[in-house]
Subunit: 387 residues, 4 copies
């Protein structure tokens, strides 16, 4: 709060993942000695990466595969998968519509109501194939379908909105979801998000969150910042919420994982988030590029189908390899989008971090990767725009 942008308006400088880099210390270690295990809601996973609850990223097959590969995928219970028995023709439509008709199509497709029986069916399908059934609902959906989700055998439920708070004001006619009561009543762990500040993260932990999602505005397919003006650069948001986790743990002895969510594309981005204090990350677009992803080479934001104020966009991300390649390698691309586990282990090894707790303590520098004149030439040449 030390910068004055104008009289009586004091603000703070927040930093994004693109503005920082990690600094090797005195020790290095073999990547194979780097222990990447973590816990979320009592479930141990080898890889601290969660696939986002997005239509183009996670379906039943992806959820099962991600579980088998040591990670986690979250199925969106208010998306295409629970509005349509057969999602294939729907996803074909989304992938083939023109850019200008995309928003209208999404608004139309989401006019179809969510089917409670499909919620139960999808959870059962994941469990039947041995996957971890992590699912997501909006606060409104949680109030409506929470019990069914638990009864259907889900392992973990994410209650997720652009921004959640423990103090939500609604019109008198609508009873808002009491997050604290919901966490208490659900027989399974509840992950809450998203938030970006120390105070709200702390409040969500006090409400009983099993983990807290951090990130507003930074996602590639998210246009919240443009539409609403809202957003906090991710390095600062993660560091602040991690401080809340540490203070809460100090006080209560309960450790609530912080999951950085949004805008992460490369292995380097993942490493940097953990170095800022995250326990794990949630990513969407990198998994949308998997051969097995439901998106057919496209990725789109979950705020897109809003009937009145869509604020997500569709991006053609292409298909670059199998989910295994993306997650565990071997990599066939050299740009940091293949072999996330290998990248994390190599980064930890290079930085001398034996486990994620040590990785959270490595030195960070402000090192903006801003465009300079020289780089424009370089990029222009690489993009074939050359002189």
């Amino acid at each position: 709060m030390n910068i004055q942008i104008g009289r009586n308006k004091e603000v703070r400088r927040a930093y994004g993942i693109d503005e920082i880099a990690l600094v090797p210390g005195r020790r290095t270690l073999d990547p194979q000695l780097a222990d990447t295990r973590w816990h979320i809601g009592g479930i141990e996973r080898e890889i601290p990466i969660i696939a986002s609850a997005m239509d183009g990223v996670v379906d039943v097959k992806m959820a099962v595969l991600l579980s088998q590969l040591g990670a986690l995928g979250v199925l969106n219970l208010e998306g295409i998968q629970t509005r349509y028995e057969d999602h294939n023709p729907i996803l074909d439509q989304i992938a083939s519509v023109g850019k200008d008709e995309f928003v209208t199509l999404m608004q139309k497709l989401y006019a179809e109501p969510v089917k409670p029986e499909l919620i139960q069916k999808r959870i059962a399908e994941i469990k039947a194939q041995g996957g971890i059934a992590a699912v997501s609902l909006t606060p409104a959906g949680a109030a409506q379908y929470g019990r069914q989700v638990a009864e259907a055998g889900a392992d973990l439920v994410f209650v997720q909105a652009t921004v959640v708070s423990t103090a939500h004001l609604s019109p008198e006619s609508i009873a808002p979801l009491d997050l604290s009561k919901f966490c208490q009543e659900m027989p399974i762990p509840v992950v809450l998000g998203n938030c970006v500040t120390y105070e709200v993260a702390l409040n969500l932990m006090k409400a009983g969150a099993a983990a807290v999602l951090v990130g507003i505005g930074p996602g590639a397919a998210c246009t919240s910042r443009g539409v609403l003006g809202i957003g906090v650069p991710q390095a600062t948001a993660v560091a602040d919420c991690a401080a809340a986790r540490d203070d809460y743990y100090q006080e209560t002895g309960r450790y609530v994982s912080i999951v950085a969510d949004g805008g992460l594309v490369t292995g380097g981005d993942i490493c940097k988030c953990i170095a800022c204090g995250a326990d794990g990350v949630m990513i969407g677009s990198p998994f949308a590029r998997a051969k097995e992803a439901p998106g057919r080479g496209f990725h789109w934001g979950m705020a897109t189908p809003s009937p009145v104020l869509p604020r997500g966009t569709r991006i053609r991300v292409g298909t670059t390899g199998t989910l295994e390649q993306i997650l565990r390698g071997p990599a066939q691309l050299d740009d940091g989008t293949h072999n996330f586990l290998g990248a994390l282990q190599t980064s930890m090894g290079t930085l001398g971090a034996k486990d994620l707790k040590e990785m959270q303590q490595v030195e960070v520098v402000i090192a903006p990767s801003l465009l300079t004149e020289g780089k424009v030439y370089q990029k222009a040449q690489q993009l074939g725009m050359g002189k």
Copy 2:
């Protein structure tokens, strides 16, 4: 005043709207609970958005429609509308001329004098259709046509120039407009602008301004910064002038609305200006994209027709929807240029602001949306320049 750019030259860092973002607090609320009402010159409006007094943005039809939709449009009384009885063939010409001939054409079209009878006719047309007749004049035009405008029944008059001040020096042969005297003598409220500093904003309030326009240099179709070197980034200008409003109110009990004018394109921009302290905003190019706009998909600056020093440019903005879609939704675009009211209400809800006074107090962070290397790839792909 704490940065030394050179010996004996102390300066201050000013911040633009692109450099800031808004931070959610502890509370959220339902967007429908967000009250966006405001007052300008004693007139209450539901939506704190004014359409700029520009040829391509506001004609009689737009002014009426904006009034009906809860906003406000200002008709330029020294533009095409009052120089030509039938503006249609003129606007066709402007839209069809080549880029290289544009400035010359504008200079020629504006050589035609303003017709006093058309001033009165346009005001009468707006009133006849039930619209609020908000009109604009330059200081010179105000001296000449002020009385006629009041007699014709205008509700609100904007006296607007790139920069106004209460202390203007003229050659002896020309008597400058005394703003203070003008405000006193006009039987209708007078809005004054533009200015960018605390001192000038305060002087304009003391002179009797009903509202003050803030912004020099930031508009998309304005090239003042390139031509004259003049401009203050909008976040700082708004915060400074809002401080003048608060101090003036403290002292006098009269509340003079601050209107941020120039360079605002998305709902997010509007939200950020209010968070910096603005009561309302004035926008041009976003409305030039309406089906009903006179500009035929083009937008141009009002300094363009200057016979000796044109400093505005013409931009093809395209036509993206109806005025209602742009102002009140539902949105068919996901980039923040449709449904401004919905965006403002959703932003206020997300930030927990019940009314605009609370919105002026939300937390702001410096969070530059600068181009990074990674983003250039992304953008290049979106623009179809991909590798």
Copy 3:
């Protein structure tokens, strides 16, 4: 000297013209009341703008025309004009050669020696047509041709190199030019440059400079920064050297004009340099765009012909209007490259500065015109790269 880029390496932040903007104060005045007169070497000029001593910018005709229009042009006495009797076929060659052969051609063309008789002839031609004969030499050229230049009737001589200093070490075989002795012995005023620091500017004044040129590295056709790593952003360089001028004037009563040289393209750039403390500016590429310019729509740096280390480049600037339009208007372009006098007067009027001394005192803010995501879309559309 307050930023540590590393242990034991303290540096200072320097600012460029692109990073600042000018802030209107409490007063405005009519542009026609703005007095732009200045003096250089005892010569009064209406417009504080000098055309650079570059092959593509100033020949005899341009020097005469610039004099008539109230400005000044400097003829390079070691360029094409004094190596070739008829420069026309030479300039045709330069304009028509391919980009890859340009440097080699320039090296070849400059292998032709300077002809003393052409030095005298060019000066005589300017004088004969009533122009002010301002000419330029390198330090080595000054030692060799200085006397001839004075005898030929030149009014003003510029001794100019990328960097000059009063303490130059040479191999024993070569006697360096003693700037102080040269200034004393020449019967006409001597302008010295370029420099960028307070200390060197002060030393040049003490050596007898009639004016000091400020600027290293910022020119569009100069690649010194890339080749040598050398350069100081212009706002800081100008402010520092202006402080030297003020201190020197305080001490001696002699006022030595500071001329900002390099990298200025628009009227706004010129206004900003004066606001940083410059008395006048020297510009090249904006005049290379004149119909009368010798460059045939091209502009190139004077360090280009170096046989071993060329560090200038050729830029196609196009031809946009007459010299009069560029200098005094009326403008047909809206981007700040036409009507520099009008731009300066309008800027002074808007800022309330009655003369250049007041313009040197106007408020400056740091207001980077950096590229943001939003602007890239805009630019891309304007450049026709749009989606």
Copy 4:
């Protein structure tokens, strides 16, 4: 450590070469008086530039030629040259494969094992032609082939990895290379790197390094920052490690040269690194552009062939001249990529530095060459994307 990016996360701002520029002082000198000699591992060289140990940059012929021209080239002993008897068809393949198959091809080519007899043969070839045999090994390679290299008559060995440290943890089955013991046992000087911090540089000196390589992440063909999130901007890294050198020299009397390695493209980059404290520089891509370079106009990173986590990329750099032109001129290009010796001498002359120790003390300013709106137009025009 004075910037808080979030609660409990203090960081430091690091600066890159693109963000700084050099400032002329009170004295200048003739470039021919600038003494550029330096020492590395007891070997004196006229030019403080080393060609990187990369497949596309140094083969036997290049190593010999670089020695003759006053510089130094390092042969990678675990690359193409020692895996294949005849590298020509291999390099043809690398140059002709499509972008998408490049990584896979490199992984395949590097599956071929290193041949100890080729290690000895290459060293012998360099020595036979009178070149300085400077060679490089990874830490693992050093453990395996160190003795052979010394016996084959190498003059200098570089033990180089992305990041080295004196405290490396390995799985119990693998004995890590003890750098200190290795330096002691080798009969020839050992250069160690890369590192980026004061502490590690000091540790490497204490371990016996003859010189220390500084730089992680900045290379054009290196994608470590994207893949691993690791990197320290070069100006800060060099200044910090140079401070370690000075402190170590103060304490022990042994002077260990600091070599800036990675991301340097122009003469200006080289000058700036030395001004930050480097004794010499190591460059790759600028030499890959030589007619004699093995890369056939391509350049690629040495981390590319990793079977599981490739993090280098291939760049088409083109062929712009002979090695002599690039190193000693005369230059035919004006962009700082020809005549590095001339550029260094001219920069030193302009800055008044008689030798490299003085060059390390010249004034540096923060002067970001960031992209501004104006420059985008310029660049776009130069790139032929113009309006």
